[in-house]
Protein backbone atom coordinates (compact mmCIF):
# COMPACT_ATOMS: atom_id res chain seq x y z
CA UNK A 1 0.00 0.00 0.00
CA UNK A 2 2.12 2.89 -1.26
CA UNK A 3 -0.28 5.50 0.06
CA UNK A 4 0.05 4.20 3.61
CA UNK A 5 3.81 4.02 3.23
CA UNK A 6 3.90 7.68 2.20
CA UNK A 7 1.80 8.61 5.20
CA UNK A 8 4.01 6.64 7.58
CA UNK A 9 7.09 8.37 6.22
CA UNK A 10 5.52 11.78 6.59
CA UNK A 11 4.54 11.08 10.18
CA UNK A 12 8.07 9.81 10.87
CA UNK A 13 9.64 12.96 9.45
CA UNK A 14 7.20 15.16 11.34
CA UNK A 15 7.99 13.44 14.62
CA UNK A 16 11.68 14.16 14.12
CA UNK A 17 10.75 17.81 13.70
CA UNK A 18 8.52 17.71 16.74
CA UNK A 19 11.53 16.72 18.87
CA UNK A 20 12.62 20.35 18.63
CA UNK A 21 9.34 21.42 20.22
CA UNK A 22 9.76 18.78 22.92
CA UNK A 23 13.22 20.21 23.56
CA UNK A 24 11.77 23.66 24.20
CA UNK A 25 9.03 22.25 26.38
CA UNK A 26 11.64 20.18 28.21
CA UNK A 27 13.85 23.21 28.84
CA UNK A 28 10.97 25.31 30.13
CA UNK A 29 9.58 22.47 32.25
CA UNK A 30 12.93 21.59 33.82
CA UNK A 31 13.78 25.21 34.60
CA UNK A 32 10.30 26.07 35.80
CA UNK A 33 9.74 23.06 38.06
CA UNK A 34 13.10 23.42 39.79
CA UNK A 35 12.76 27.18 40.04
CA UNK A 36 9.30 26.93 41.60
CA UNK A 37 10.76 24.45 44.06
CA UNK A 38 13.55 26.91 44.74
CA UNK A 39 11.12 29.71 45.47
CA UNK A 40 9.37 27.61 48.09
CA UNK A 41 12.60 27.88 50.08
CA UNK A 42 13.76 31.35 49.09
CA UNK A 43 11.59 34.41 48.77
CA UNK A 44 11.36 35.81 45.27
CA UNK A 45 11.81 39.32 46.67
CA UNK A 46 15.16 38.33 48.19
CA UNK A 47 16.14 36.67 44.93
CA UNK A 48 15.53 39.86 42.98
CA UNK A 49 16.72 42.47 45.51
CA UNK A 50 19.34 40.96 47.81
CA UNK A 51 22.77 42.23 46.85
CA UNK A 52 24.65 39.10 47.88
CA UNK A 53 24.85 35.65 46.31
CA UNK A 54 26.38 33.15 48.71
CA UNK A 55 24.43 29.88 48.41
CA UNK A 56 27.56 27.80 48.99
CA UNK A 57 28.49 29.52 52.24
CA UNK A 58 27.20 29.00 55.75
CA UNK A 59 25.59 32.45 55.74
CA UNK A 60 23.39 31.94 52.70
CA UNK A 61 22.14 34.82 50.56
CA UNK A 62 20.26 34.33 47.31
CA UNK A 63 20.34 37.68 45.56
CA UNK A 64 20.78 37.18 41.80
CA UNK A 65 21.88 40.81 41.29
CA UNK A 66 25.65 40.22 41.64
CA UNK A 67 25.50 37.47 39.00
CA UNK A 68 23.39 39.65 36.72
CA UNK A 69 25.83 42.52 37.23
CA UNK A 70 28.78 40.28 36.36
CA UNK A 71 26.99 39.01 33.28
CA UNK A 72 26.15 42.49 32.06
CA UNK A 73 29.57 43.89 32.79
CA UNK A 74 31.36 41.26 30.69
CA UNK A 75 28.70 41.51 27.98
CA UNK A 76 29.02 45.29 27.88
CA UNK A 77 32.81 45.11 27.48
CA UNK A 78 32.44 42.44 24.80
CA UNK A 79 30.02 44.54 22.75
CA UNK A 80 32.21 47.61 23.23
CA UNK A 81 34.97 45.66 21.47
CA UNK A 82 32.94 43.68 18.96
CA UNK A 83 30.50 46.29 17.64
CA UNK A 84 32.95 48.95 16.38
CA UNK A 85 35.50 46.43 15.12
CA UNK A 86 32.94 44.03 13.67
CA UNK A 87 30.90 46.73 11.97
CA UNK A 88 33.97 48.49 10.62
CA UNK A 89 35.23 45.26 9.09
CA UNK A 90 31.80 44.67 7.57
CA UNK A 91 31.67 48.16 6.04
CA UNK A 92 35.27 47.91 4.89
CA UNK A 93 34.73 44.52 3.24
CA UNK A 94 31.51 45.62 1.61
CA UNK A 95 32.46 49.13 0.44
CA UNK A 96 36.23 49.31 0.17
CA UNK A 97 37.98 45.98 -0.04
CA UNK A 98 38.80 44.35 -3.37
CA UNK A 99 36.90 41.12 -4.00
CA UNK A 100 40.02 38.96 -3.78
CA UNK A 101 40.75 40.34 -0.30
CA UNK A 102 37.22 39.52 0.81
CA UNK A 103 37.63 35.98 -0.41
CA UNK A 104 40.65 35.48 1.84
CA UNK A 105 39.31 37.32 4.89
CA UNK A 106 35.93 35.65 5.17
CA UNK A 107 37.21 32.09 5.70
CA UNK A 108 39.77 33.41 8.19
CA UNK A 109 37.01 35.06 10.17
CA UNK A 110 35.13 31.78 10.03
CA UNK A 111 38.11 30.10 11.64
CA UNK A 112 37.92 32.68 14.42
CA UNK A 113 34.29 31.65 14.90
CA UNK A 114 35.06 27.93 14.91
CA UNK A 115 37.52 28.03 17.81
CA UNK A 116 36.05 26.29 20.90
CA UNK A 117 35.35 28.75 23.70
CA UNK A 118 37.52 26.91 26.21
CA UNK A 119 40.44 27.86 23.98
CA UNK A 120 39.43 31.53 24.11
CA UNK A 121 39.37 31.21 27.88
CA UNK A 122 42.95 29.99 27.89
CA UNK A 123 43.89 32.91 25.64
CA UNK A 124 42.27 35.41 28.00
CA UNK A 125 43.97 33.99 31.07
CA UNK A 126 47.42 33.35 29.67
CA UNK A 127 47.87 36.19 27.13
CA UNK A 128 45.44 39.07 27.58
CA UNK A 129 45.45 39.23 31.38
CA UNK A 130 49.27 39.33 31.76
CA UNK A 131 49.40 41.92 28.98
CA UNK A 132 46.76 44.12 30.64
CA UNK A 133 48.41 43.69 34.04
CA UNK A 134 51.59 45.14 32.60
CA UNK A 135 49.64 48.26 31.54
CA UNK A 136 47.18 48.54 34.42
CA UNK A 137 48.96 47.95 37.70
CA UNK A 138 46.81 46.49 40.43
CA UNK A 139 44.55 44.57 38.10
CA UNK A 140 43.53 41.22 39.55
CA UNK A 141 44.51 37.97 37.87
CA UNK A 142 40.83 37.15 37.38
CA UNK A 143 38.77 40.09 36.08
CA UNK A 144 35.88 41.10 33.88
CA UNK A 145 38.01 43.18 31.52
CA UNK A 146 40.16 40.55 29.86
CA UNK A 147 37.35 38.01 29.60
CA UNK A 148 35.09 40.73 28.19
CA UNK A 149 37.68 41.71 25.58
CA UNK A 150 38.25 38.12 24.49
CA UNK A 151 34.52 37.52 24.38
CA UNK A 152 34.34 40.57 22.10
CA UNK A 153 36.99 39.09 19.82
CA UNK A 154 34.97 35.88 19.72
CA UNK A 155 31.82 37.79 18.71
CA UNK A 156 33.48 39.89 15.97
CA UNK A 157 32.91 37.26 13.24
CA UNK A 158 29.23 36.99 14.18
CA UNK A 159 28.66 40.74 13.96
CA UNK A 160 30.77 41.08 10.83
CA UNK A 161 29.09 38.34 8.88
CA UNK A 162 25.51 39.29 9.82
CA UNK A 163 26.13 43.02 9.23
CA UNK A 164 27.83 42.28 5.95
CA UNK A 165 24.84 40.23 4.81
CA UNK A 166 22.60 43.15 5.73
CA UNK A 167 24.78 45.64 3.85
CA UNK A 168 24.97 43.32 0.88
CA UNK A 169 21.17 43.10 0.76
CA UNK A 170 20.80 46.86 0.27
CA UNK A 171 19.83 47.48 -3.36
CA UNK A 172 22.83 48.54 -5.45
CA UNK A 173 20.84 51.42 -6.90
CA UNK A 174 20.99 53.21 -3.55
CA UNK A 175 24.76 53.15 -3.51
CA UNK A 176 24.95 54.25 -7.11
CA UNK A 177 22.56 57.11 -6.40
CA UNK A 178 24.81 58.26 -3.58
CA UNK A 179 27.94 58.08 -5.72
CA UNK A 180 26.09 59.84 -8.47
CA UNK A 181 25.60 62.84 -6.21
CA UNK A 182 29.31 63.09 -5.55
CA UNK A 183 29.52 61.36 -2.17
CA UNK A 184 32.71 59.72 -1.01
CA UNK A 185 32.75 56.06 -0.09
CA UNK A 186 32.70 56.96 3.58
CA UNK A 187 29.66 59.19 3.20
CA UNK A 188 27.94 56.55 1.10
CA UNK A 189 28.72 53.89 3.67
CA UNK A 190 27.55 55.72 6.77
CA UNK A 191 24.87 58.04 5.40
CA UNK A 192 23.23 55.60 2.98
CA UNK A 193 24.25 51.98 3.35
CA UNK A 194 24.43 51.61 7.13
CA UNK A 195 21.09 53.37 7.74
CA UNK A 196 19.47 51.26 5.02
CA UNK A 197 20.87 48.09 6.61
CA UNK A 198 20.22 49.26 10.15
CA UNK A 199 17.69 46.62 11.11
CA UNK A 200 20.03 43.82 10.01
CA UNK A 201 22.89 45.43 11.91
CA UNK A 202 20.74 45.79 15.03
CA UNK A 203 19.85 42.11 14.75
CA UNK A 204 23.55 41.24 14.59
CA UNK A 205 24.22 43.27 17.74
CA UNK A 206 21.32 41.73 19.63
CA UNK A 207 22.44 38.24 18.69
CA UNK A 208 25.95 39.22 19.75
CA UNK A 209 24.62 40.35 23.13
CA UNK A 210 22.64 37.16 23.49
CA UNK A 211 25.73 35.14 22.67
CA UNK A 212 27.81 37.06 25.22
CA UNK A 213 25.19 36.69 27.94
CA UNK A 214 25.15 32.92 27.46
CA UNK A 215 28.91 32.52 27.04
CA UNK A 216 30.30 30.27 29.70
CA UNK A 217 33.84 28.98 29.40
CA UNK A 218 35.70 32.25 28.82
CA UNK A 219 34.27 33.81 31.98
CA UNK A 220 34.51 30.58 33.95
CA UNK A 221 38.23 30.49 33.22
CA UNK A 222 39.26 34.14 33.24
CA UNK A 223 36.74 36.22 35.20
CA UNK A 224 36.98 34.52 38.57
CA UNK A 225 34.24 32.97 40.65
CA UNK A 226 33.40 35.74 43.10
CA UNK A 227 29.85 37.09 42.86
CA UNK A 228 30.16 40.79 43.43
CA UNK A 229 27.83 43.69 42.75
CA UNK A 230 30.25 45.97 40.96
CA UNK A 231 30.93 47.74 37.71
CA UNK A 232 34.68 47.69 38.25
CA UNK A 233 36.17 45.67 35.38
CA UNK A 234 39.47 45.06 37.16
CA UNK A 235 38.31 42.78 39.97
CA UNK A 236 37.09 39.17 39.96
CA UNK A 237 33.37 38.76 39.36
CA UNK A 238 31.00 35.89 38.59
CA UNK A 239 28.45 35.55 35.82
CA UNK A 240 25.27 33.47 35.85
CA UNK A 241 26.86 30.86 33.60
CA UNK A 242 30.02 30.65 35.69
CA UNK A 243 27.99 29.98 38.78
CA UNK A 244 26.29 27.03 37.10
CA UNK A 245 29.67 25.62 36.10
CA UNK A 246 31.07 26.24 39.57
CA UNK A 247 28.29 24.22 41.18
CA UNK A 248 28.44 21.51 38.52
CA UNK A 249 32.13 20.86 38.98
CA UNK A 250 31.55 20.32 42.70
CA UNK A 251 29.52 17.53 44.17
CA UNK A 252 25.98 18.70 44.79
CA UNK A 253 23.21 16.29 45.77
CA UNK A 254 20.05 16.25 43.74
CA UNK A 255 17.17 17.98 45.55
CA UNK A 256 19.40 20.11 47.73
CA UNK A 257 18.94 23.85 47.73
CA UNK A 258 22.31 24.30 45.98
CA UNK A 259 21.12 21.99 43.20
CA UNK A 260 18.00 24.09 42.72
CA UNK A 261 19.97 27.34 42.62
CA UNK A 262 21.58 26.44 39.31
CA UNK A 263 18.14 26.03 37.77
CA UNK A 264 16.96 29.34 39.20
CA UNK A 265 20.10 30.96 37.79
CA UNK A 266 19.52 29.11 34.50
CA UNK A 267 15.96 30.41 34.43
CA UNK A 268 17.20 34.00 34.73
CA UNK A 269 19.68 33.36 31.90
CA UNK A 270 17.04 31.73 29.73
CA UNK A 271 14.64 34.63 30.21
CA UNK A 272 17.29 37.17 29.16
CA UNK A 273 18.34 35.31 26.04
CA UNK A 274 14.76 34.41 25.17
CA UNK A 275 13.77 38.08 25.18
CA UNK A 276 16.82 39.08 23.13
CA UNK A 277 16.26 36.31 20.58
CA UNK A 278 12.62 37.19 20.16
CA UNK A 279 13.38 40.86 19.64
CA UNK A 280 15.84 39.95 16.92
CA UNK A 281 13.42 37.49 15.33
CA UNK A 282 10.74 40.16 15.33
CA UNK A 283 13.03 42.78 13.77
CA UNK A 284 14.15 40.28 11.16
CA UNK A 285 10.56 39.46 10.18
CA UNK A 286 9.66 43.13 9.90
CA UNK A 287 12.79 43.84 7.90
CA UNK A 288 12.02 41.07 5.41
CA UNK A 289 8.55 42.45 4.81
CA UNK A 290 10.00 45.86 4.08
CA UNK A 291 12.12 44.59 1.21
CA UNK A 292 9.61 42.24 -0.38
Amino acid sequence: MPRIKEKVIEVGLASAAVITILTTIGIIWVLLSQTIDFFSDVSIVDFLTDTQWTPLFADKHFGILPLVAGTFLTTFIAILVALPVGLTIAVYLNEYAPKSFRKIIKPLLEILAAVPTVVYGFFALSVITPFLQSIIPGMAGFNALSSGIVMGIMIIPLITSLSEDALFAVPKSLREASYGMGSTRLQTAFKVMVPAASSGIIVSVILGISRAVGETMIVAIAAGQQPRLTMNPLVPIETITTYIVQVSTGDVAHGSLEYKTIFAAGMALFVFTFILNNISYWIKKKFQEKYE
Binding site: E10, T24, I27, T88, S126, T184, S248, T249, G266, N277
Partner: protein, 285 residues
Protein backbone atom coordinates in the same frame (compact mmCIF):
# COMPACT_ATOMS: atom_id res chain seq x y z
CA UNK B 1 41.20 73.34 2.91
CA UNK B 2 37.87 72.96 1.22
CA UNK B 3 35.29 70.48 2.33
CA UNK B 4 35.79 68.01 -0.51
CA UNK B 5 39.43 67.67 0.42
CA UNK B 6 38.49 67.02 4.03
CA UNK B 7 36.00 64.45 2.90
CA UNK B 8 38.63 62.70 0.88
CA UNK B 9 40.99 62.61 3.82
CA UNK B 10 38.24 61.22 6.04
CA UNK B 11 37.45 58.66 3.38
CA UNK B 12 41.04 57.48 3.28
CA UNK B 13 41.33 57.57 7.04
CA UNK B 14 38.40 55.20 7.31
CA UNK B 15 39.91 52.92 4.73
CA UNK B 16 43.02 52.51 6.86
CA UNK B 17 40.90 52.16 9.98
CA UNK B 18 39.02 49.37 8.24
CA UNK B 19 42.25 47.64 7.31
CA UNK B 20 43.48 48.12 10.88
CA UNK B 21 40.37 46.50 12.32
CA UNK B 22 40.63 43.56 9.96
CA UNK B 23 44.30 43.18 10.76
CA UNK B 24 43.45 43.42 14.46
CA UNK B 25 41.12 40.44 14.17
CA UNK B 26 43.65 38.43 12.22
CA UNK B 27 46.53 39.47 14.47
CA UNK B 28 44.59 38.25 17.47
CA UNK B 29 44.09 34.93 15.71
CA UNK B 30 47.81 34.79 14.91
CA UNK B 31 49.02 35.76 18.41
CA UNK B 32 46.59 33.34 19.86
CA UNK B 33 47.64 30.39 17.71
CA UNK B 34 51.33 31.35 17.93
CA UNK B 35 51.25 31.54 21.70
CA UNK B 36 49.53 28.19 22.03
CA UNK B 37 51.86 26.48 19.60
CA UNK B 38 54.98 27.91 21.25
CA UNK B 39 53.80 26.84 24.67
CA UNK B 40 52.37 23.48 23.77
CA UNK B 41 54.04 21.92 20.75
CA UNK B 42 57.12 20.65 22.56
CA UNK B 43 55.03 18.71 25.04
CA UNK B 44 53.20 16.69 22.40
CA UNK B 45 54.57 13.20 21.96
CA UNK B 46 53.17 9.70 21.78
CA UNK B 47 53.14 9.38 25.56
CA UNK B 48 51.07 12.56 25.90
CA UNK B 49 48.42 11.02 23.69
CA UNK B 50 48.47 7.55 25.25
CA UNK B 51 48.89 8.45 28.93
CA UNK B 52 46.19 8.83 31.55
CA UNK B 53 45.78 12.06 33.50
CA UNK B 54 48.12 12.36 36.45
CA UNK B 55 49.01 14.56 39.40
CA UNK B 56 52.38 14.96 37.81
CA UNK B 57 52.03 17.29 34.79
CA UNK B 58 54.99 15.68 33.02
CA UNK B 59 53.41 12.24 33.13
CA UNK B 60 49.84 13.35 32.38
CA UNK B 61 48.22 12.47 29.08
CA UNK B 62 44.95 12.90 27.24
CA UNK B 63 44.01 9.33 26.31
CA UNK B 64 40.67 9.09 28.18
CA UNK B 65 39.63 12.58 27.10
CA UNK B 66 40.57 11.96 23.47
CA UNK B 67 38.71 8.65 23.38
CA UNK B 68 35.79 10.36 25.14
CA UNK B 69 35.72 13.07 22.48
CA UNK B 70 35.70 10.45 19.71
CA UNK B 71 32.89 8.55 21.45
CA UNK B 72 30.87 11.73 21.89
CA UNK B 73 31.41 12.68 18.24
CA UNK B 74 30.30 9.26 17.03
CA UNK B 75 27.26 8.92 19.28
CA UNK B 76 26.14 12.48 18.63
CA UNK B 77 26.42 11.83 14.90
CA UNK B 78 24.35 8.66 15.18
CA UNK B 79 21.59 10.45 17.09
CA UNK B 80 21.58 13.91 15.55
CA UNK B 81 22.16 13.22 11.83
CA UNK B 82 19.03 11.16 11.09
CA UNK B 83 16.83 13.34 13.29
CA UNK B 84 18.19 16.58 11.84
CA UNK B 85 17.91 15.51 8.22
CA UNK B 86 14.42 14.08 8.76
CA UNK B 87 13.22 17.26 10.46
CA UNK B 88 14.83 19.41 7.75
CA UNK B 89 13.10 17.39 5.02
CA UNK B 90 9.79 17.69 6.82
CA UNK B 91 10.02 21.45 7.17
CA UNK B 92 11.23 22.11 3.63
CA UNK B 93 9.19 19.61 1.64
CA UNK B 94 6.17 18.52 3.67
CA UNK B 95 5.17 20.97 6.36
CA UNK B 96 5.04 24.12 4.24
CA UNK B 97 2.48 26.71 5.36
CA UNK B 98 0.85 24.51 7.99
CA UNK B 99 0.40 25.91 11.50
CA UNK B 100 2.75 23.23 12.82
CA UNK B 101 5.47 24.34 10.39
CA UNK B 102 5.22 27.98 11.46
CA UNK B 103 5.44 26.96 15.10
CA UNK B 104 8.41 24.70 14.34
CA UNK B 105 10.20 27.45 12.48
CA UNK B 106 9.89 30.04 15.26
CA UNK B 107 10.81 27.38 17.77
CA UNK B 108 13.95 26.29 15.93
CA UNK B 109 15.18 29.83 15.51
CA UNK B 110 14.65 30.31 19.23
CA UNK B 111 16.45 27.09 20.14
CA UNK B 112 19.45 28.14 18.08
CA UNK B 113 19.81 31.11 20.43
CA UNK B 114 19.52 29.23 23.72
CA UNK B 115 22.90 29.22 25.54
CA UNK B 116 24.56 25.82 25.48
CA UNK B 117 24.74 25.66 29.26
CA UNK B 118 20.91 25.62 29.39
CA UNK B 119 20.99 22.44 27.31
CA UNK B 120 23.25 21.10 30.02
CA UNK B 121 20.58 21.75 32.64
CA UNK B 122 18.03 20.02 30.41
CA UNK B 123 20.31 17.02 29.94
CA UNK B 124 21.12 16.85 33.65
CA UNK B 125 17.45 16.52 34.60
CA UNK B 126 15.95 14.64 31.64
CA UNK B 127 18.71 12.30 30.48
CA UNK B 128 20.84 12.16 33.61
CA UNK B 129 18.23 11.86 36.32
CA UNK B 130 14.77 11.02 34.91
CA UNK B 131 16.00 8.62 32.21
CA UNK B 132 18.69 7.34 34.54
CA UNK B 133 21.69 7.79 32.26
CA UNK B 134 23.69 9.69 34.87
CA UNK B 135 26.88 11.25 33.58
CA UNK B 136 27.33 8.69 30.82
CA UNK B 137 28.50 9.13 27.23
CA UNK B 138 24.93 8.50 26.14
CA UNK B 139 23.60 11.34 28.30
CA UNK B 140 26.31 13.65 26.95
CA UNK B 141 25.72 12.71 23.33
CA UNK B 142 21.94 13.05 23.71
CA UNK B 143 22.37 16.52 25.19
CA UNK B 144 24.74 17.65 22.44
CA UNK B 145 22.44 16.15 19.80
CA UNK B 146 19.61 18.42 20.92
CA UNK B 147 22.08 21.31 20.91
CA UNK B 148 23.21 20.82 17.31
CA UNK B 149 19.85 19.69 15.92
CA UNK B 150 18.84 23.24 14.89
CA UNK B 151 22.13 23.67 12.98
CA UNK B 152 21.61 20.44 11.01
CA UNK B 153 17.95 21.23 10.35
CA UNK B 154 18.69 24.72 9.05
CA UNK B 155 21.55 23.60 6.80
CA UNK B 156 19.54 20.66 5.46
CA UNK B 157 16.74 23.05 4.55
CA UNK B 158 19.15 25.43 2.84
CA UNK B 159 20.64 22.59 0.82
CA UNK B 160 17.22 21.28 -0.23
CA UNK B 161 16.11 24.78 -1.14
CA UNK B 162 19.09 25.10 -3.48
CA UNK B 163 17.91 22.19 -5.65
CA UNK B 164 16.14 23.73 -8.64
CA UNK B 165 12.39 23.21 -8.69
CA UNK B 166 12.61 21.88 -12.26
CA UNK B 167 14.15 18.67 -10.87
CA UNK B 168 11.28 18.27 -8.47
CA UNK B 169 8.74 18.95 -11.21
CA UNK B 170 10.37 16.45 -13.55
CA UNK B 171 10.28 13.79 -10.87
CA UNK B 172 6.63 14.43 -10.01
CA UNK B 173 5.73 14.43 -13.68
CA UNK B 174 7.29 10.96 -14.01
CA UNK B 175 4.81 9.70 -11.44
CA UNK B 176 7.15 9.75 -8.45
CA UNK B 177 5.61 10.21 -5.03
CA UNK B 178 6.81 12.88 -2.67
CA UNK B 179 9.08 10.55 -0.75
CA UNK B 180 10.48 8.99 -3.93
CA UNK B 181 11.29 12.48 -5.16
CA UNK B 182 13.01 13.35 -1.89
CA UNK B 183 14.92 10.09 -1.72
CA UNK B 184 15.95 9.66 -5.37
CA UNK B 185 16.39 13.28 -6.41
CA UNK B 186 16.48 15.94 -3.71
CA UNK B 187 18.74 14.21 -1.20
CA UNK B 188 21.40 13.10 -3.71
CA UNK B 189 21.36 16.54 -5.34
CA UNK B 190 21.71 18.36 -2.01
CA UNK B 191 24.16 15.89 -0.50
CA UNK B 192 27.12 18.28 -0.47
CA UNK B 193 25.24 20.95 1.41
CA UNK B 194 23.77 18.53 3.90
CA UNK B 195 27.17 16.97 4.66
CA UNK B 196 28.76 20.41 5.09
CA UNK B 197 26.14 21.35 7.66
CA UNK B 198 26.60 18.07 9.51
CA UNK B 199 30.37 18.45 9.76
CA UNK B 200 30.08 22.04 11.02
CA UNK B 201 27.50 20.95 13.58
CA UNK B 202 29.67 18.07 14.79
CA UNK B 203 32.71 20.30 15.03
CA UNK B 204 30.63 22.56 17.25
CA UNK B 205 29.73 19.56 19.41
CA UNK B 206 33.37 18.55 19.73
CA UNK B 207 34.27 21.98 21.11
CA UNK B 208 31.45 22.19 23.63
CA UNK B 209 32.41 22.18 27.29
CA UNK B 210 29.76 23.76 29.47
CA UNK B 211 26.78 21.44 28.83
CA UNK B 212 28.93 18.37 29.46
CA UNK B 213 30.27 19.80 32.71
CA UNK B 214 26.70 20.44 33.82
CA UNK B 215 25.46 16.93 33.06
CA UNK B 216 28.31 15.63 35.20
CA UNK B 217 31.09 14.61 32.84
CA UNK B 218 34.19 13.96 34.89
CA UNK B 219 37.32 16.06 35.08
CA UNK B 220 39.48 13.12 36.12
CA UNK B 221 38.99 9.81 34.34
CA UNK B 222 41.54 7.09 35.01
CA UNK B 223 40.04 4.69 32.45
CA UNK B 224 39.18 4.59 28.77
CA UNK B 225 35.41 4.56 28.23
CA UNK B 226 34.39 1.37 26.47
CA UNK B 227 30.62 1.57 26.13
CA UNK B 228 27.97 4.30 25.82
CA UNK B 229 26.93 3.81 29.42
CA UNK B 230 30.41 4.58 30.77
CA UNK B 231 31.31 7.83 32.45
CA UNK B 232 33.69 9.99 30.51
CA UNK B 233 35.66 13.16 30.00
CA UNK B 234 36.32 15.06 26.77
CA UNK B 235 39.22 17.15 25.54
CA UNK B 236 37.67 20.56 26.34
CA UNK B 237 36.93 19.48 29.90
CA UNK B 238 40.45 18.11 30.30
CA UNK B 239 41.76 21.45 29.05
CA UNK B 240 39.50 23.38 31.42
CA UNK B 241 40.69 21.22 34.28
CA UNK B 242 44.35 21.82 33.48
CA UNK B 243 43.85 25.56 32.99
CA UNK B 244 42.29 25.76 36.46
CA UNK B 245 45.43 24.40 38.15
CA UNK B 246 48.06 26.80 39.39
CA UNK B 247 51.17 24.82 38.34
CA UNK B 248 52.90 25.99 35.16
CA UNK B 249 53.29 22.40 33.96
CA UNK B 250 49.52 21.99 33.64
CA UNK B 251 49.23 25.22 31.66
CA UNK B 252 51.66 23.73 29.16
CA UNK B 253 49.62 20.53 29.10
CA UNK B 254 46.52 22.65 28.44
CA UNK B 255 48.25 24.34 25.49
CA UNK B 256 49.29 20.96 24.09
CA UNK B 257 45.78 19.55 24.43
CA UNK B 258 44.41 22.72 22.79
CA UNK B 259 46.65 22.07 19.78
CA UNK B 260 45.11 18.62 19.43
CA UNK B 261 41.57 19.96 19.89
CA UNK B 262 42.14 22.75 17.37
CA UNK B 263 43.56 20.28 14.90
CA UNK B 264 40.37 18.23 15.17
CA UNK B 265 38.05 21.25 14.76
CA UNK B 266 40.12 22.89 12.01
CA UNK B 267 40.34 19.69 10.02
CA UNK B 268 36.57 19.27 10.30
CA UNK B 269 35.96 22.88 9.29
CA UNK B 270 38.47 22.58 6.48
CA UNK B 271 36.70 19.54 5.07
CA UNK B 272 33.39 21.36 5.37
CA UNK B 273 34.68 24.44 3.54
CA UNK B 274 36.26 22.28 0.86
CA UNK B 275 33.04 20.33 0.30
CA UNK B 276 31.02 23.53 0.21
CA UNK B 277 33.25 25.11 -2.43
CA UNK B 278 33.39 21.98 -4.53
CA UNK B 279 29.67 21.54 -4.29
CA UNK B 280 28.99 25.16 -5.21
CA UNK B 281 31.24 24.85 -8.24
CA UNK B 282 29.84 21.53 -9.38
CA UNK B 283 26.22 22.50 -9.16
CA UNK B 284 25.45 24.62 -12.17
CA UNK B 285 22.07 23.74 -13.48
Amino acid sequence: MNSSKINRIKDNAFKYFGIACTVFGLAMLAIFLGNIIIEGIARIDWAFITNFPSRNPDKAGILPALVGTLWIMGLTAVIAIPLGIAAGIYLEEYGKKSKLATLLEINISNLAGVPSIIYGLLGLEIFGRIMGMGGSLLAGASTLSLLILPIIIVSTREALKAVPSSIKEASFAMGASKWQTVWHQLLPASFGGVITGIILALSRAVGETAPLIVIGALAYVPFVPASPTDEFSVLPIQIFNWISRPQKGFAINAASAIIILLMVTFIMNGIAMYLRNRWQKKVKW
